[in-house]
């Protein structure tokens, strides 16, 4: 049985029918990882023993009973490492507690399985900033899987995971999902508790599912959503039945096309894939509405000011005093801090800490941080106006398909621009999803996935899932498997 190629829903059906046990599911998945991961490098670690123990006591009648889920290495799971792909935590921190998303997953019967690679502290768009290893795109091992949740997306794409949790601060779920050909959903800010998610930028971070199908996305979102007394920013709003939103037609659904998101700098193959998707949606009965998000251009600047400002203080706690890497005996306290952090953090993390420290410094605070907050409000207003005219908005997820490993490492600004379509959703706190919408042809017969982004208003996940599901059902992009994960039929 090639069980690893199953979707989360397929696995659930088989488990409930008794075709296999949760233990067999975990063992089968582990075998696939053992076979494929040397080439993909999606996982940082796996604790098979604890996964099997949970599998043996799993109740398959629970919503996700007995289903292993890969976890981005930035979410705390009790007794597991949580390195954030950083040398500052690698081998020097075992989590003493569960993130609320994990507690909820466990309550739904799921089994946390393995820790996936990422850009260090979720800072990056290619997973090349991992302080531990480079993850390869299953569609072309010479290319990046996207980031920062590159490990989670690559694992799902390569059938090394049925589904995974990622985190999204400026596109870190959607962009790797797009570049690896899977479904990635960034929930509304406040939909999923951040307790136990190691913060990069607290006002932007959200945990969300990376899956093979829209239905899986709805199932996983269902399990992790909801209020949390440990996170004051997590809203006490009822969680609807997300799978109930699936299977509805698109008659009367208004899809907004923001002019600014189709302006320039989009790869022609990405553009034509997205245009074809628009055709499909129109043929399904959706109505296209052209509209404008006037503050799109300053969004990247606003994002890099707010995210780095928050990151500079969030990451202050990594000082080698209580946990994590600690430099050899230093002569004084400041030397201890300086050396511990110089040795522990990678270059991108340092760059962002310095940027964030600068924008908060007295004398610059108002000019940068305060002004960025004002523009953030304008961006939010752009979206509220847009959602008066449309139920969801549509854009490419990433302006280009996956680029080559090493291609942009020396040009951080170029890398930052890759987030152009995704960061606004985080700044506005709204929800968004990336769905596979075709392929771009690279040289020598290599094809690279392209993602379609749908953006919804705050707590509009149902609308997103409804449109994405209708599109998915009308196309067969999701069923395509990368060369590193041979197609079901061929197995």
């Amino acid at each position: 049985m090639e069980i690893h190629s199953w979707s989360l829903k397929e696995l659930q059906d088989h488990l409930r029918k008794g075709d296999l046990s949760p233990r067999e599911a975990v063992e089968g998945l582990d075998a696939a990882v053992a076979e494929r991961d040397p080439a993909v490098q999606a996982y940082l670690s796996r604790d098979l023993e604890s996964a099997l123990r949970l599998a043996d006591e799993a109740d398959v009648n629970l919503p996700l009973g007995g289903i292993p889920i890969a976890i981005k290495d930035v979410i705390n799971v009790e007794g597991q490492p949580c390195t954030c792909s950083s040398k500052i935590l690698e081998g020097a921190y075992l989590s003493p507690y569960n993130a609320t998303a994990i507690t909820k997953l466990r309550a739904a019967g799921a089994i946390p399985f393995g820790r996936t690679n990422m850009d260090e502290f979720a800072m990056g768009s290619s997973t090349e900033n991992s302080g531990i290893q480079v993850t390869h795109n299953p569609w072309d091992p010479e290319r990046i899987p996207g980031g920062s949740s590159g490990g989670s997306a690559a694992a799902v794409a390569a059938d090394e995971a049925f589904a995974a949790l990622g985190t999204d601060t400026g596109g870190s779920i959607r962009q790797p999902a797009a570049l690896c050909g899977c479904v990635g959903l960034k929930p509304t800010y406040g939909r999923v508790s951040r307790y136990g998610l190691v913060a990069f930028a607290s006002s932007l971070d959200q945990i969300g599912p990376i899956t093979k199908t829209i239905e899986d996305s709805a199932m996983l979102l269902q399990a992790i959503s909801g209020a949390d007394p440990r996170d004051s920013t997590c809203l006490d709003k009822p969680v609807p039945d997300y799978t109930a939103a699936l299977g509805k037609d698109l008659k009367g659904v208004r899809v907004g096309l923001p002019r600014e998101y189709f302006a320039e700098g989009i790869d022609p193959q990405v553009k034509s894939a997205v245009e074809a998707a628009i055709e499909v949606l129109s043929s399904l009965g959706a109505e296209m509405v052209e509209l404008s998000l006037p503050h799109t251009e300053p969004a990247i600047a606003v994002y890099y000011i707010i995210a780095t400002a928050e990151a500079s203080t969030n990451l202050a706690r990594f000082d080698g005093v209580r946990y994590g890497h600690r430099t050899a005996a230093a002569e004084d306290l400041m030397t201890h801090y300086g050396r511990t952090r110089a040795e522990g953090f990678g270059p991108e993390v340092k760059r962002r800490i310095i940027l964030g420290t600068y924008v908060l410094s007295s004398g610059y605070h108002d000019e940068y941080y305060l002004r960025a907050q004002k523009v953030r409000t304008l961006i939010r207003e752009d979206f509220s106006k847009a959602f008066e005219k449309a139920d969801v908005l549509l854009s490419p997820t990433s302006p280009t398909p996956a680029f080559r490993i090493g291609e942009k490492v020396d040009d951080p600004l170029q890398m930052y621009l890759a987030d152009i379509f995704t960061i606004a959703a985080n700044l506005a706190g709204i929800c968004a999803i990336s769905v596979p919408c075709g392929f771009a042809n690279a040289e020598s017969g290599i094809t690279l996935p392209v993602g379609l982004q749908l953006l919804g208003p705050a707590f509009g996940e149902e609308a997103l899932l409804r449109v994405a599901h209708a599109y998915e059902q009308a196309t067969d992009w999701s069923s395509k498997k990368p060369p590193l994960a041979p197609a079901k039929s061929g197995a």
Partner: protein, 494 residues
């Protein structure tokens, strides 16, 4: 030589006696084994998030209301960034530009001044204005050893209230009065024990001097590390003298922070302004701003009677002196004791007591406080209940025993915890007020002293006292002297 004006301002940090810490469910308690009261939140573990403790916010608002502060409708939380091992996140959750309380003031009570300064209060009734009160989290406790430093995170994340005054205090004595008055008010509100010697209240003191006639304040120098009110007073005396001497010698003072060394009795330079931190305040994205409206309505009815209100009420309702009222009001437990005893007596109209509250106050101030002090007991551990004290007063004021005997009975009650009536009976102290028994003694005294009787009849009032003395002697001191005097007068006036 010009005379100098002194300006002192205080930043007081006081612990709030909540059950749990400011941002997590850990118990806020002292004296437990190191690092036993910790969790991912107060250890600053990766991913942990703070959640507000409503109780701490309510107690801060209560403090604000007691001190007449404005409570702005919106208050928020900010990260104050600096690296230090006692701070697990390397930022402190505090309040920067939207504190919970603004303005207000601390009234300086007469008895809050140091004893030797109470006779010479420069501005009786002075109220020192406050700038603001905000809430923040306390840091961990570092202990420095020879080769290393250990950190106990039990204190990390416990609620801490910062009360900032305007630089309106003009002497070390006023500063001491400010701290004592503030403590009294915090006690009244049940907000904090605010004992400096237990570290429940800590303060940074800013002091500057300037020649008389100069409007602009002098160079501000901050003093740290005073662990008692008297240390604050001593440090200020030292520092004011030092600054004046420096100015007299033509030196220029520079803005700086100095550490008080209590053993050497001097302040020492710690750092100058150049090394001042840039705290890079950031509104905390993990905590939502607080709307104070609903909290305010909840807290408003909890505002207690304040010390000056209590003193005024004692003067008017119980008829005791301002001084006695102030002494009793300086301690809430003592006040409760006093009121219980006094009210018990006031309800006993059948006894026709003249001013029982006054008698209670006298007994408390002259006898009870001394006895407590000597036995090192707080009023809450007093072996003598308020009801027992009231009983003693009924015996004295009802004429059963004399005031002098009362003192003796009091001492016995305090030592043994036994009731007044029992002691009086056992010692055979009961005054004879039985007129039948007295008549016999009076007849004996009159018969034995015809000359004196004649003098009384001639109008010599003093001679009554002689006869009374004779009756007392015959009764072995147990007759009620007032009653005897009255009966003698009645007999001899015919």
């Amino acid at each position: 030589m010009p005379s100098y004006l002194v300006s002192i301002g205080l930043e007081v940090h006081t612990q709030i006696n909540t059950r749990s810490k400011m941002f997590c469910a850990c118990r806020a308690h002292y004296g437990e084994p190191p690092n036993s009261l910790t969790c991912p939140v107060c250890l600053g573990l990766p991913g942990a998030l703070p959640v507000l403790n409503r109780g701490a916010i309510e107690k801060t608002i209560l403090t604000g209301l007691m001190l007449g502060c404005e409570i702005p409708p919106l208050s928020k939380w900010d990260r104050k960034n600096y690296f230090y091992p006692d701070m697990p996140k390397n930022y402190q959750l505090s309040q920067f530009d939207l504190p919970l309380c603004e303005g207000g003031g601390v009234p300086l009570y007469d008895l809050a001044y140091p004893k030797d300064a109470q006779k010479d209060i420069a501005q009786p009734g002075k109220v020192v204005r406050l700038t603001r009160i905000h809430l923040e989290e306390d840091v961990a406790k570092s202990t420095h050893h020879q080769n290393d430093t250990t950190i106990d995170f039990n204190r990390a994340g416990t609620p801490l209230m910062e009360i900032v005054s305007e630089p309106e205090l003009e002497s070390p004595e006023e500063t001491a009065a400010y701290l004592n008055s503030l403590r009294q008010i915090l006690n009244y509100g049940g907000v904090s024990d605010a004992d400096m010697e237990k570290g429940q209240l800590r303060c940074d003191v800013n002091v500057s001097v300037r020649p008389e006639g100069q409007d602009e304040l002098g160079v501000k120098i901050e003093l740290k590390n005073m662990n008692s009110v008297s240390a604050v007073r001593r440090a200020l005396h030292y520092e004011i003298d030092r600054q004046i001497t420096a100015l007299e010698h033509g030196e220029t003072l520079i803005q700086s922070t100095r550490r008080w060394d209590d053993d050497l009795g001097e302040t020492q330079l710690m750092r100058t302004k150049e090394f001042a931190h840039d705290y890079r305040y950031l509104p905390d994205p993990d905590l939502l701003p607080v709307r104070t409206g609903a909290l305010l309505e909840k807290v408003r009815p909890l505002v207690p009677e304040l010390p000056h209100q209590k003193i005024a009420r004692y003067e008017s309702d119980f008829g005791i002196t301002h001084y006695d009222a102030s002494v009793i009001a300086s301690d809430l437990d003592l006040s409760a004791y006093f009121e219980q005893a006094a009210n018990t007596l006031l309800e006993r109209e059948d006894l026709h007591l003249k001013s029982p509250a006054k008698r209670v106050a006298n007994l408390i101030i002259n006898d009870l406080l001394a006895a407590l002090n000597e036995s090192e007991k707080p009023i809450t551990k007093c072996p003598l209940s308020a009801a027992a004290l009231a009983e003693l007063v009924t015996l004295i004021d009802g004429g059963k025993i004399s005031g002098k005997q009362g003192k003796e009975v009091f001492a016995e009650m305090f030592a043994s915890g036994r009731g007044a009536a029992e002691i009086v009976k056992e010692k055979g102290m009961e005054q004879v007020s039985d007129t039948g028994a007295l008549e016999t003694f009076i007849t004996q005294a009159i018969d034995a002293n015809p000359d004196v009787v004649q003098q009384v009849k001639d109008g010599n009032e003093k001679s009554i006292n002689f006869l009374t003395g004779q009756v007392m002697k015959l009764s072995k001191g147990q007759a009620n002297p007032q009653l005897v005097g009255q009966m003698l007068r009645d007999r001899l006036s015919n």
